[in-house]
């Protein structure tokens, strides 16, 4: 029954509870879908045996009337989360053969809630990229295609495998991580929901670090309700992560009341960037109208420091990454390429183990932190980061959520923008400021381009107010009525 793969977390869980089908049947349908769609290259490691064994255990619990929030639901994991005894690569050659002796806090929470693990999903190497082309394991193919054009498109990145697998119905949901847009931009490119929580809402323990002050894990699903359900499982204080917030986890699903009357929706005037396609502009206006029709009040706001967000991000993120990636040195795990001396072994290992984009960012990061440049780059970027966050603080005095496009374009062809890193970095222009300010943001599929590619709208919430953001997203989702499905799946 191929319909199994069209279920959502919510409907599948209800079906299991009502004993309409078993977790094994549900999981088997997804295992088969993964086998049929290997051409998308969404997975680095498939774990069908594990998924089916977990499903069997779920069925036993369900038969006893037990079972967690995600009991029996097959999901997939971005290969940036450490999973005990399962190959964990961060899509990098340098982690060859690395099987962690521990389970990340978030995946442990998901398994404890009853979810089943289908496998580990492809991504940009160390989550550095916006198109999933930097993976050592090859690019992920977007299941969507342009009408009348069979060229392979990128799924966005870095959570490209997560977005493609959920869009192509290979998993009911997936985990993603978002440092500058890595959940929201691929969600937009693949026509699914992607939610980046407030920094500190989800534990980073056991997630391979890219830029520690920006990284945040979140759910990637096909509905806003699913995102709310999954976030409820993933969120929560973790004493093992000093930056995790000691706050109670609200019932995010209960926030989906559909009632946004009087909600003030901020529209940042600076976000009408040059060269943005008219159809994205039009969709944004459509989004404003949908929310207005539901009783919300659009308010023009100003986020003047946004123009500095990309340069700020491309100093802070590489700086942190340059230190975070020092541990990949060939000494204790992963790839080692021998050399005549310790230094030569380091050089050989890291030259062979890291791809071009990772090397570029490590070099940028080392440069901006080096003696004589620290003040001019890193320190200045930190000051700008403070100003960007203040922009949002001031804006939220006038509004309750902010609405923007998710990205300035729809999915592009693999190979496009490859020769110009700066053009690639522009993909994140609307998402990066949210990470710099530590705020929650989510992308909701809202429409299609003229040639049939999905476009997302982004809703940004106040810090630790995912509930209001989710409520607005629910209304947007209902108004958009996005039902299109990708061609390749």
């Amino acid at each position: 029954m191929s319909d199994f793969t069209d279920l959502t977390l919510a409907t599948a869980r209800a079906g299991l509870a009502a004993r309409k089908f078993s977790a094994v049947e549900l999981t088997q349908a997804h295992v088969s879908a993964i086998e049929r769609n290997r051409g998308l290259n969404a997975f680095i490691t498939e774990t069908p045996d594990k998924a089916l064994a977990m499903a069997k255990a779920s069925d036993e619990r369900l038969a006893r009337g037990e079972g967690g929030v995600l009991e029996g639901l097959p999901i997939a994991i971005k290969d940036l989360f450490c999973t005990k005894d399962i190959l964990t690569t961060a899509a990098s050659h340098i982690l060859d053969g690395f099987k962690p002796p521990y389970e990340s806090t978030i995946t442990q929470k998901l398994w404890d809630a009853g979810a089943n693990c289908l496998g580990k999903l492809n991504l940009d190497e160390f989550a550095m990229g916006s198109s999933n082309v930097t993976s050592h394991y090859g690019p992920v193919i977007n299941p969507w295609t342009k009408a009348g054009d069979n060229r392979q498109l990128v799924p966005g990145g870095s959570s490209g495998g997560s977005a493609a697998s959920v869009a192509a119905r290979l998993a009911l949901a997936a985990t993603g991580t978002d440092t500058g847009g890595s959940i929201r931009q691929p969600a937009g490119f693949c026509g699914i929901v992607g939610l980046k929580p407030t920094y500190g809402r989800c534990s980073r323990w056991g997630v391979v670090a890219f830029a520690s002050s920006l990284d945040q894990a979140g759910p990637m699903t096909r509905t806003v309700e699913d995102a709310a359900i999954m976030l409820g499982v993933m969120a929560g204080h973790d004493p093992k992560d000093s930056t995790s917030a000691p706050m109670a986890v609200p019932d995010f699903r209960a926030a989906l009341t559909g009632d946004i009357r009087g909600l003030r929706v901020g529209i940042p005037k600076e976000y009408r960037v040059d060269g943005m396609p008219a159809e994205i502009e039009a969709l944004w206006q459509q989004g404003i109208d949908w929310l207005k029709d539901a009783g919300a009040v659009p308010v023009e706001i100003s986020l003047p420091m946004t123009k500095h967000a990309l340069p700020t991000y491309y100093i802070i993120a590489p700086a942190e990454a340059s230190a975070n990636l020092s541990r990949y040195d060939g000494v204790r795990f992963g790839l080692r390429v021998p050399g005549a001396s310790l230094d030569e072994m380091y050089e050989n290992t890291r030259a062979a183990g890291f791809g071009a984009e990772v090397k570029r960012r490590v070099l940028i990061g080392a440069y901006v932190l080096s003696a004589g440049y620290y003040d001019a780059y890193y320190l200045k970027a930190q000051r700008l980061r403070t100003l960007i966050a203040r922009d949002f603080d001031q804006a939220f005095e006038k509004c309750d959520v902010i609405l923007t496009p998710t990205a300035p374009s729809a999915a592009f062809a693999i190979g496009e923008k490859m020769d110009d890193p700066l053009a690639m970095y522009l993909n994140d222009v609307f998402t990066v400021p949210v990470n710099l300010a530590g705020l929650p943001g989510m992308s909701v599929p809202a429409g299609l381009t003229a040639d049939g590619l999905p476009l997302g709208l982004q809703i940004i919430g106040r810090a630790f107010d995912e509930e209001t953001m989710i409520r607005a997203a629910g209304v947007l989702e209902a108004a958009a009525g996005f039902t299109a499905k990708p061609g390749r799946a």
Binding site: F81, C82, T88, A90, L95, F98, P100, P101, Y102, S104, R204, W205, G206, V207, V208, A209, A211, S212, S213, P239, K240, D241, S242, T243, A319, E320, S322, A323, L325, S326, R327, D329, V331, R332, F333, L342, D343, Y346, A366, L369, S370, A371, Y374, Y378
Partner: protein
């Protein structure tokens, strides 16, 4: 920066071929914080465990692992700061110090750079002549230790032991206020004493729980500071003093021969007693310090600082002042007695209700000598403080003489018996019976009539001879004062 307000003292200068030189010394001490677990992980810290048995994935720098601060280490850093009369910074920041080495798993050391937990303080040196001298403390910060590279286990490979990786260290930096190797030695002794009093570091330099980097430069008196060299990781007080002596002489020789000192890091070769260059300033790392984004700024609750303050023990300086005031001890004796808390406690028990000067002499003299010979610490003394007090009591009430007491002390060491038991069983009680002593004197004088007449005709020195004879006759038990008095009377008559 390397500046100093210390006034030049003529007696600290050293002589070169062409004149006098002043040595400028600053010390950086790495003190391992006594904690059960590491600074940012739950792994154990016991010394001497098998290689790589006390390592968590956090210490090994595994992907996705995150540091969580050890609160005990923070409290002990605060305690140490208070013990050094230093400013406690309510907000401090952990930074990453980046460099590659095989025993540094993450490729960066978590340390504190611009905002340490403890700021300026001071420490008082007790010099051997009983004088004191103040040395400024620049700062104290918390940081992780690295692992250990073992280069001698395999012909072509280096082995790495990560047991020490991540262990909590306090780096305590002094101002360049010291001028002689002796002062540097006194600084380390005093610092170690304070750390032990506080229980924040065991100060064991042999096990590496206290290590010292020495910054040394020389200059002509009154001239600006010279270029300094840093001697890394010296692991005993004696070696620190040797290294400074050697290095300052070396620098003087270089300068007197018209050379210049290059800023460099040097190593002390304890076998040959020399320092040699390790790397120059040009080869120095660019550590690319920046705030560790995995850790929030460390904000100290004022209540914590007050709780630590309330738990502070009496420290060596306070104790020394009290010993001088209450027991009328010399500054030197007081300094010796307070160096170790256990010694000070021992002394106080001995001195309680007794002649403190006598107690001090017995503890620092006979007892220290005996313990030294036996290779024992005062905690393991075969003679307890109460027992030593008992011996002193017998001297005080004239039961035995000071001379006999030495024999009794030796017997106490051998047998573990009390002074009273030994005096009784060996019949050492001193004779204070005037009649008995008089009788003995009479016998001696009668046996040596020739000497008596010589004495009476002016040979005063013979007095000692008569005392000796009487003592011999009474097996040393005659009360010396009484004997002197009676003898003088009889000879004078």
């Amino acid at each position: 920066m390397f500046t100093s307000d210390v006034v030049m003292r003529e007696e600290t200068l050293i002589d070169g071929r062409t004149g006098k030189w002043e040595i400028i010394i600053g010390l950086e001490v790495h003190a391992q914080v006594t904690t059960q677990s590491k600074l940012f992980s739950g792994a154990a810290t016991a010394f001497g465990a098998d290689p790589n048995t006390q390592v968590s994935p956090v210490d090994a720098g595994f992907p996705g692992m995150l540091p969580v601060i050890n609160e005990i280490a923070v409290e002990k850093a605060v305690k140490t700061g208070l013990g050094l009369n230093a400013v406690i910074n309510p907000v401090s920041v952990f930074d990453r110090k980046n460099y590659f080495y095989a025993d540094l798993p993450t490729g960066y050391q978590i340390s504190q750079y611009q905002q340490p937990i403890v700021g300026k303080g001071r420490l008082v040196l007790d010099m051997p002549d009983g004088s004191t001298r103040e040395v400024g403390v620049t700062r104290l910060h918390l940081e992780q230790d690295a692992g250990k590279s073992l280069h001698d286990q395999h012909p072509s490979m280096t082995f790495v032991d990560l047991n020490r990786a991540g262990v909590a260290l306090m780096e305590i930096v002094s101002e360049p206020d010291m001028r002689t190797a002796e002062e540097a030695g006194a600084y380390l002794k005093k610092l170690r004493s304070i750390l032990r009093y506080l229980g924040t570091c065991d100060g064991n330099m042999e096990e590496g729980s206290m290590r010292c980097d020495c910054n040394v430069s020389v200059r002509r008196p009154g001239e600006p500071l010279g270029t300094r060299n840093e001697i890394k990781n010296v692991n005993s007080i004696r070696f620190v003093m040797q290294a400074i002596e050697y290095e300052s002489r070396r620098q003087v020789e270089v300068l007197e021969e018209g050379g210049t000192i290059r800023q460099e890091t040097r190593l002390f070769d304890s076998g040959r007693g020399i320092t040699r260059a390790m790397r120059s300033k040009e080869e120095a790392h660019d550590y690319r310090y920046f705030p560790d984004p995995d850790l929030l700024p460390l904000v100290l609750d004022p209540a914590l600082i007050e709780r630590v303050r309330a738990s502070m023990p009496e420290l060596p300086d306070g104790k020394k002042a009290r010993f001088i005031a209450d027991f009328k001890l010399s500054p030197y004796d007081a300094g010796v007695l307070v160096a170790e808390q256990s010694t000070a406690h021992f002394f106080e028990v001995v001195a309680k209700g007794r002649d403190a000067k006598l107690a001090a002499n017995w503890v620092t003299g006979d007892l220290f000598g005996a313990l030294n010979k036996l290779g024992l610490g005062i905690e393991a003394s075969p003679i307890s403080a109460e027992a030593l007090g008992g011996l002193i009591d017998l001297i005080a009430d004239d039961t035995i003489s000071g001379k006999i007491a030495k024999d009794v002390f030796a017997a106490m060491l051998d047998t573990g018996k009390s002074a009273g038991e030994i005096v009784e069983s060996q019949g050492l009680r001193q004779v204070t019976d005037t009649g008995a002593i008089e009788k003995s004197i009479d016998e001696i004088l009668a046996a040596h009539t020739d000497k008596v007449s010589q004495y009476r005709s002016g040979k005063d020195k013979l007095f000692g001879f008569f005392v000796g004879q009487v003592m011999k006759a009474t097996a040393g038990k005659a009360n010396p004062a009484l004997l002197n008095e009676l003898l003088r009377k009889k000879l004078g008559s």
